[in-house]
């Protein structure tokens, strides 16, 4: 049966050839998985979080595996915005894929400055604002755990750039809907949810926390039900599109997020398990659509909501 499926989606003014993106911090600056597939196959390439100044990140150990999950405390290690613009971003123009840069800062002004500088870089098509990193004292969750500060970061970034702005939300809050609405109100063009969940592990041989940073962010299949629930809750409370992420390994996982209301999805930890995870997810989505006679991926967006209502 010949059935051409339209996988294109629109995300805050960006047109993506399919709904599958990389999750920031899991794909470096686009080159790491080049031997396994071309970034051109992706809907969008979201690169590592960038700050104004270079950051060394946290001491090691930075990773601990947990059941069906991964705790990390990288601490936003990155070469700083100038080096990223000079060295890391220009080569990305060779791929036919929209590049989205994740940004973080210690102060409102730093978020604005990083946004302004990246906006002058032609390869950058959107900014994802990290107001949710659990592993740094400032600049991360501090902003993202209160609706007023989260909204202020988004206002500052919006005032500094003409690019679409995606707010990446933290799940470590009491009311995710309140956060989503606050950043929408502040002008966010789309939302990414979720960032990692704050967690920890103890090494019982050493009788001490397994991560040097003590706590870290939990990702992987272990967090998927929580991520899905948050996408579900937010989907009908905002008008802007959502990027769903958290433990996606397969096309089926991605479809759950889309049916909960996500416009696009992002793959993070899944890439570490399967270096072709992103393309396997795209293939899986396409196969499902072909089998079910879905002509446009948009038909599936939020369909679980509609079916739950009826």
């Amino acid at each position: 049966m010949e059935n051409k499926v339209d996988l294109t989606v629109e995300l805050g003014g960006l047109k993506l050839k399919n709904p599958v993106m990389t999750a920031s911090g899991t794909f470096a600056f686009g080159e790491a998985y080049e031997d396994f597939f071309s970034p051109a196959e992706l809907g969008a390439l979201v690169v590592k979080g960038v700050t104004l100044e270079p950051r060394q990140g946290n001491p090691g150990p930075r990773l601990v595996e947990t059941p069906a999950g991964l705790l990390n405390a990288i601490g936003l290690e990155n070469p700083g915005v100038e080096e990223v613009i000079r060295t890391y971003l220009p080569p990305l123009s060779r791929y036919d894929v929209p590049v989205i840069v994740n940004i973080a800062g210690n102060t409102y002004a730093e978020y604005g400055e990083v946004a302004a500088r990246l906006s002058k870089c032609p390869v950058v098509k959107a900014l994802e604002v990290n107001i949710s990193c659990p592993n740094v004292k400032e600049g991360g969750m501090a902003f993202g755990s209160h609706p007023d500060t989260a909204a202020e970061v988004i206002r500052v970034v919006k005032a500094s750039t003409g690019l679409p702005v995606i707010a990446k939300l933290s799940p470590n809050v009491t009311d995710i809907v309140e956060m989503a609405q606050a950043v929408e109100e502040a002008g966010a063009d789309a939302l990414s949810l979720i960032n990692t969940l704050l967690g920890m592990a103890i090494d019982i041989k050493q009788k001490r926390p397994a991560l040097a940073n003590v706590t870290g962010g939990l990702s992987g299949p272990a967090v998927k039900p929580i991520a899905l629930r948050m996408v579900w809750q937010v989907a009908r409370k905002v008008k802007i599109p959502l990027v769903g992420m958290g433990g996606i390994l397969t096309g089926e996982d991605a479809l759950e997020f889309i049916m909960a209301g996500a416009t696009a999805v992002a793959i993070g930890t899944g890439q570490f398990v399967n270096p072709r995870c992103c393309v396997d997810v795209i293939t899986g989505i396409k196969k499902y659509c072909e089998e079910k006679g879905v002509k446009n991926i948009g038909e599936l967006r939020g369909v679980a909501w509609r079916n739950a209502d009826s």
Partner: protein, 308 residues
């Protein structure tokens, strides 16, 4: 080129004693390109726990036969599952990954210093280097059972891979159950009093590497070390395995601007005045090394040892 081979078949697996296993896969793509010191990233099954791959250093790669083998110790859930694989089973492998040892050397006297499972990649290296160099191995382990299979105790027939060092080696165990009782670095130090080496290679626990580094540095012998780290991606994407950069680049260290903090730390360390003098300064020191991609093999000067 890195390959992802989702269904490499297991040719055989052999328990060499204790909890050490030798796993041989048919994996022509990776076997053809693997170099000593590189590693492969293996899934330990199809379930979600354990979720991540396990990086295993390559023990032997036979391009003609398309065989790739790993010598590993069962230390947790992942390696436990790997150790159950039988001939005919399939395993998901990525590789070859990372930067291996420098093998562009000939006509030299070379010492290899391996501790425990760190001996495995050095056997691969030594076999290659022994063709054009005079190679001497120094192998150490806590006890005899924790030594990987070496030439004289290894029946090569049932694994499909022929393993023979092809060069002389000395053994030390901490409990004296094989070779000399004591640390492998003791063997090396005694040897160095009699005869020098033009280059040293080391792989093993960090304290052993630091001790070899001190011995090499004091005598001006270039040293390459292979570092171990917990990894997630294995390809330079996640930054989970990065470590602090040392003052040098493996060749002559550039005279730097001199970060005072950096200098003080080096002055605290014994035998490290040379390192302090050649500090490449704060800028270079700020960059971190990705063990999975920039390494796992580094020139000793590329790594930050501090007081170790």
């Amino acid at each position: 080129m890195k390959y992802h081979v989702p269904h490499a078949s297991v040719v055989g697996q052999w328990n060499t004693g204790g909890n050490i296993f030798l796993l041989t896969l048919s994996c022509p793509e990776i076997a053809a390109e693997a170099r000593p010191g590189q590693f492969a990233h293996l899934r330990c099954g199809n379930t979600l726990d354990p979720l991540l791959r396990r990086p295993l250093s390559i023990f032997q790669a036979e391009a003609q036969k398309g065989l790739l083998s790993f010598c590993y110790q069962v230390v947790g859930k992942g390696t436990q599952l790997l150790s159950k694989l039988q001939a005919g089973a399939q395993v998901d492998v990525m590789g070859p990954l990372g930067r291996g040892f420098d093998t562009e050397i000939s006509g030299k006297r070379i010492g290899l210093v391996g501790g425990g499972m760190g001996i495995a990649p050095l056997v691969f290296l030594g076999r290659m280097l022994a063709r054009h160099n005079q190679v001497q191995g120094f192998w150490g382990a806590r006890t005899k059972e924790l030594l990987p299979p070496l030439a004289d105790q290894f029946p090569s027939g049932d694994s499909g891979v022929e393993v023979a060092c092809g060069f002389p080696y000395l053994v030390a165990t901490e409990d004296g159950s094989a070779g000399r009782q004591g640390l492998v670095t003791g063997l090396l130090e005694e040897w160095l009093e009699q005869e020098p080496f033009d280059r040293l290679y080391a792989c093993g626990p960090r304290p052993m590497l630091a001790a070899v580094h001190r011995l090499a540095q004091a005598r001006g012998i270039p040293l390459q070390v292979s570092l171990e780290a917990v990894m997630a991606c294995g390809v330079g994407a996640c930054l989970g395995c990065t470590c602090e950069k040392g003052p040098g680049d493996g060749g002559a260290g550039a005279e730097g601007t001199g970060n005072p903090v950096h200098r003080v730390r080096h002055q605290d360390a014994p035998n490290s005045h040379a390192a302090a003098e050649t500090s490449a300064g704060s800028l270079a020191a700020e960059k971190r090394l990705k063990v999975c991609q920039d390494g796992p093999v580094f020139w000793a000067e590329e790594v930050r040892w501090d007081g170790e």
